[in-house]
Symmetry: none
Subunit: 213 residues, 4 copies
DNA sequence: CATGAATGAGATTTCATTCAT
DNA sequence: TATGAATGAAATCTCATTCAT
């Protein structure tokens, strides 16, 4: 009655479309999208070369879905709750946000950098609902947290939440890009031991000496 | 009886090796390395398809040199002197550094993002002396500036120059990556109007309210 | 317990084999056999992709049957009776035959031209009883008519019915082929306005001037 | 100085572009264009798979040139002069024209039938100067001959040269198409022994008995 | 027997690299 | 040493055919 199942799915229960997205996602997560071939994906999925065209219009569509799923998976994999305004100290919360952001970016950015210069993938991505906004979710969430702390008086009224959020996300991009461009380094970027502490300290107290205008 | 000169060099005096690097650099600067073919490079250089193999082991070596040269060229093209410790105000100098860093990154990053996932190019790049280290030169320069200001007492002694440098470079990466992944936006990223001011303000005075520990 | 019926046959009573031949025939009639896929046929028939292999050895066999059916259908669709020997004038009858032959060929030839170079289809076709013989039925019928008119004395005894039949069929082939090879022209070939009259005139009276040997 | 020559040309003196056209032409002449692959052509030419893209935009362009060259070659290969008006007898001249036309069509038509349904080839062909007009050259030449004979009084004034030309070309199309659709027959169509004589007789004297109106 | 997804060979086309000249 | 055509491996995508359900 039903048609035949793919050899790769004999055991498990999923359907092949999701299986392909997952396989492509695995490759994309580690290698990025540059130089990724349909054969690579088929091998990774353990299926025949041509299958993907039974489920997607072309390679780019599959890659876009794979990126999308990858981002969702990373987002879903985030353990714990985000810090709540007013609880603990602002410094501890900053550290928590920064560590979470670093983890998310370490997981996401590698997959995305290769997409630059692949207009077809970008176009497909634009058609998909934005799962995390390429970091915008995090950025907005963090800026919201800061605004709440400002209302509580635990953050200076003159501070600019958006600018601080950019600084936070920027540290992440910096770290991940640095590792990506250094093939000799570890796959999973590890920040310098004191970086988080030092950044938090700087963000909290700034550069200006106490008496300065 | 002397060896034949390439058609493109009939007039000038350089050697073909540098000519090829320059041509590839021009392409890399505008299009990045993704989808760049040896024929593209040969056309741009005005020489025959095969010449590059008389001067480089393979395409990747040439591309690595082109990236290298591109970074150097961008660095050399920076107008003006970097701010000097003790002169003007720290805030003005921070702003100058940030604006310079943004300009440099806007010029450099597009060329680099495609390199992720091209291990052969990355390997070749690793063999070359690091011209700016993807920001490391800037980072070190800025950290040095901050240390000097610390010695002059214009920056808090507890501040961590390396962390601040990472924040500065991170803002640049954030801005450029964001634009690169948004094909609808302008080719040359332009920061939000108040971003630079807001970042400088935050870096100077921090988040903590005056009385906070 | 009875075997499952194809979705497309739930209503009617035919069997699937004929249904497939009819569907393929419809496609062949309009597009020819070039670029025709089994999926096209299955879609047209409203059945699953694989069914045809339960009824035919391969695609070529089905296409051969479809061509065969198409020719029969065109022949059956011919309105009216063929002219009868001794009735009206020979000229009027010639004109009627020619017009009928043109109509038949306009309907048949497009389906056939692509078959050249598809040896498997040709081989299958050769195994089938010849429905009109690519014009042979018409040719024989017309030659028979001419022989009858010869016996009635309305056609010269020296005339060769087979040769005249070839001339008649040839005009058709000429017209249809010409249109097929000219993609700018109309899909349905229309003979030049006076062609039929002129051909009939020539066939009737020949080229030789009255007195010539 | 000059680049390397193709292995297949080591001996002879042509260039590869012409060599490819010739090779494709050979295949096209025998098999037609249906089912012709670029690999077939490369094999026939004895060169690498990708060469044709150094000389032609795509397969269709090469096939169009091959068809073109094939037609020209056939035209050039025609031995002897066409009959001249007023010389010999009209019957002998008709026979000569018919035999020449049959030979030309036997050589040309097989190559062309498959082109139907290959719009890209047809479009390319339309851009090329028409070498024989798919028979139009012959048709016009023969019609011109007949008009000349009419002026000389050796052909009836009422006869229609264009219609007669269509009959002549039609016989050719008939013969060749018949053979093409019959894979069991000889590759080179041979008309029935008396066909030419019978057609000439019919064309000369027509069907109408002497006394008929 | 029908289903229709999976299969995998093969088609077109690109492009890094070689090499006779 | 430059030339640039030739080479051929590989990439994307199509499609006839199979087969578990």
């Amino acid at each position: 009655m039903s048609p035949r199942r793919a050899a790769a799915l004999r055991d498990g229960g999923q359907n092949l479309r999701e299986h392909l997205i997952a396989a492509a996602g695995r490759l994309v997560a580690t290698r990025g999208t540059a130089g990724l071939t349909v054969r690579d994906i088929a091998r990774e999925a353990g299926v025949a070369d041509g299958v993907l065209y039974n489920h997607f219009a072309d390679k780019e569509e599959l890659v876009a879905y794979a990126l999308h799923a990858h981002v969702r998976a990373v987002g879903a994999g985030q353990a714990g709750e985000p810090p709540r305004p007013g609880e603990r100290t602002v410094g501890a919360n900053l550290r928590a946000y920064l560590e979470r952001a670093l983890a998310v970016h370490a997981a996401i950015l590698p997959a995305f950098t290769g997409v630059v210069g692949q207009p077809k993938v970008l176009a497909r991505l634009a058609e998909l609902p934005n799962p995390m906004g390429g970091g915008d979710g995090l950025r907005a969430e963090f800026a919201g947290y800061l605004r709440a702390e400002q209302r509580l008086g635990r953050v200076r009224a003159q501070a600019r939440p958006e600018a601080v959020a950019t600084l936070l996300v920027g540290v992440c991009h910096d770290l991940v890009l640095g590792r990506l461009l250094d093939p000799s380094g570890p796959a999973v970027p590890e920040p310098a031991p004191d970086l988080v502490s030092d950044v938090v300290e700087t963000l909290l107290h700034g550069l200006a000496p106490p008496g300065a205008g």
